[in-house]
């Protein structure tokens, strides 16, 4: 490998390569230690953690849909304290770069979780899952309100010096405005997208297929929408973007990098092929070599609009 795959995702954090295991799709990382050398991943984003343990939703929790899957796991998890005590040590030992995905029902909970992680050893970054329910605000999601986004990011910013990466929901009208709000409140980078709220019905029983009625759509089906959102955010903010949504191979990852993501996360594809990580770095390296690029940073944001209309034309959505 003569090419440089390392990327700077902000807040002083440099990753050896741009490939990050997506939160909720890689357990706490340790589950995969037998299958992949965790230190070879750019980073590992662990499953979303609240302050306390959570049981999550009853089965059925997933259902496959055309080129995608719905999940309604309900953030089952061991809580941040058990994570720090039980999972961080083996992750550290294996050289994993750990992004901890955190959730909260209130701003105080977010801040408390972040504080605990700030004190812990072996946390490389905090990914702020702001499409979580905001119980205090009557069920409105932080991630669907600009003010909520600003408030929660600012509150967490106050309690930690760790690189702070809010994760944006795609279920909004103008995702770039949320990226800007997150930046204004002190985010070092943003990651996008989380899953699309969706639903599937068993027509024979006329019941929802998921116990929770609705779930989040991930996988290749959403990729074109996710790429568009990364492109929009790239035009709106200059902090690093971590793109994701339906990446199945190096070419798919390149769409996000070209659109302006500095790094990418891979979720659903890891279920299909847990050995995907080596293939991704090999594919990216091959591409860069073929295109005479010495570093992955050359491809980031390299979208060529010269032969096209300059900007996004909302018109397209109703053509």
């Amino acid at each position: 490998m003569s090419v440089d795959l390392s990327v700077d995702i902000g807040g002083g954090l440099t990753l050896a390569n741009p490939f990050i295991a997506a939160s909720g799709c890689f357990g706490y990382g340790v589950e995969y230690a037998d299958v992949v050398d965790l230190s070879t991943l750019g980073a590992v984003a662990v499953k979303g953690l609240f302050l306390d343990e959570r049981e999550g939703h009853p089965p059925e929790r997933i259902v496959e849909t055309p080129s995608g899957m719905l999940n309604a796991i309900g953030l089952q998890g061991i809580g941040v304290r058990r994570f720090v005590a039980e999972k961080l040590p083996p992750l550290r030992e294996r050289g994993a770069v750990v992004m901890v995905n955190i959730c909260g029902s209130t701003i105080d909970e977010y801040a408390e979780v972040a504080r605990i992680l700030d004190d812990a050893e072996g946390v490389a970054a905090i990914e702020l899952n702001i499409s979580c329910p905001n119980i205090r605000k009557g069920g409105m999601m932080f991630g669907c309100s600009l003010a909520g986004t600003r408030d929660v990011v600012a509150a967490v910013r106050k309690v930690t010096r760790l690189p702070l990466v809010p994760k944006l929901t795609p279920n909004v009208t103008d995702v770039a405005a949320f990226a800007a709000a997150a930046r204004d409140a002190g985010a070092d980078a943003v990651s996008l997208v989380n899953t699309f709220l969706a639903m599937a019905i068993d027509v024979e029983t006329r019941r929802p297929r998921l116990s929770n009625v609705m779930g989040g759509l991930s996988g290749p089906a959403i990729r074109p929408i996710a790429v568009r959102m990364v492109h929009e955010c790239r035009r709106a903010v200059s902090i690093p973007l971590i793109g994701m949504g339906g990446i199945m191979n190096a070419d798919d990852a390149l769409e996000f990098l070209i659109a302006g993501a500095t790094a990418v996360q891979v979720g659903t594809a890891n279920f299909v092929d847990p050995f995907i990580w080596g293939k991704l770095t090999a594919g990216l390296t091959g591409y860069l070599e073929r295109h005479g690029m010495a570093a992955v940073t050359e491809v980031v944001g390299s979208l060529d609009l010269s032969t096209r209309d300059a900007g996004p034309t909302p018109e397209a959505a109703c053509s």
Binding site: G24, C25, F26, G27, E31, Y32, D34, V35, K47, E55, G56, P58, P59, E60, R61, I62, V63, E64, S67, G68, M69, N71, I73, Q76, T205, R207, S211, G219, P220, M248, T268, N270, F271, V272, D273, P274, F275
Partner: protein, 275 residues
């Protein structure tokens, strides 16, 4: 240490209009698999359908020299992947990840072993029967199916010295009705002191009934559950089973890591979902 094998289809034996046995050249997995473990399977190389599907290792295939050359799956057509697996010709490719999950804990003499299978729930019992025979355990298979035509591999089990107790929904062979009936007779016939291990695999209501029946006779049952699985490796938390252990409250545990084999009495059957 699970491995992922791009396995060639060695054989496809159609047993009925819905069942087949698919031989796959995945010797590394076959050699490592223990009875009750499973593989995550995906036919072809494309992305359709997206996710892999879990299957028990049915048989370990050996060549004449006794070298392990592959494994087989007992497949029942119910949806998109199982339909594809039904139709594959030798030479086709199937991606096969495994072995995965916690195996059965095999009995040892003087224990005797009773396996209770419903329909495609037969799948994990062939490898178990081989292991039991190797350990010199006396074993019986209680096996229920829709009709005589769907009672498969009886000779193979007989050759392994397994006694058979059959039942069919239509009465075309063995007991008329559920396999619980011959099981109950047998439990009643067996003294409560006789050491016994019970294993069950089949439709959820059947495994639940077997667990309850066994419990009523003071016996435990190891059940092999068939939860929908997204990854098979503990990554997605889709496959959970509500389990109550040591009198605590029910917790969702991942079937791909903690199972698919569970102590039936710990399973909170009402919370298992539609699958």
């Amino acid at each position: 240490m699970p491995v992922d094998v791009d396995a060639t289809v060695l054989s496809n034996t159609r047993l009925s209009s819905d069942y087949n046995v698919l031989g796959l050249a995945a010797p590394a997995i076959a050699a490592a698999a223990e009875p009750g473990q499973f593989v995550m399977v995906k036919p072809g190389l494309g992305d359709h359908p997206l996710l892999r599907r879990p299957f028990s290792v049915f048989e370990v295939i050996e060549d004449d020299a006794g070298r392990v050359t592959g494994l087989s799956l007992l497949n029942k057509r119910i949806g998109v992947t199982t339909r594809t697996l039904f139709g594959l010709e030798p030479g086709a490719r199937v991606r096969c990840l495994g072995p995965l999950g916690r195996p059965f804990s095999p009995a040892a003499p003087p224990e005797r072993a009773w396996m209770v299978a419903g329909g495609v729930g037969l799948a994990p019992f062939h490898t178990l029967a081989v292991a039991l025979r190797a350990r010199g355990v006396e074993s019986t298979l209680f096996y229920g199916a829709r009709s005589a035509a769907e009672l498969f591999h009886l000779d193979a089990f007989r050759r392994l010295g397994v006694r058979l107790q059959l039942a069919t929904d239509d009465g075309s062979r063995g007991d008329h009705g559920l396999v619980a009936a011959p099981l109950e007779r047998a439990l009643r016939g067996l003294g409560p002191a006789a050491p016994l291990r019970l294993y069950a695999c089949g439709p959820t209501p059947m495994m639940r009934a077997v667990t309850d029946l066994a419990h009523a006779h003071g016996r435990r049952t190891e059940v092999s559950l068939e939860q929908v699985m997204g990854c098979g490796l503990g990554g997605c938390y889709s496959c959970v089973v509500p389990v109550r252990r040591n009198g605590g409250r029910p917790r969702f545990v991942r079937s791909c890591l903690d199972g698919p084999v569970f102590d039936g009495r710990t399973v909170v059957w009402d919370g298992l979902g539609a699958g």
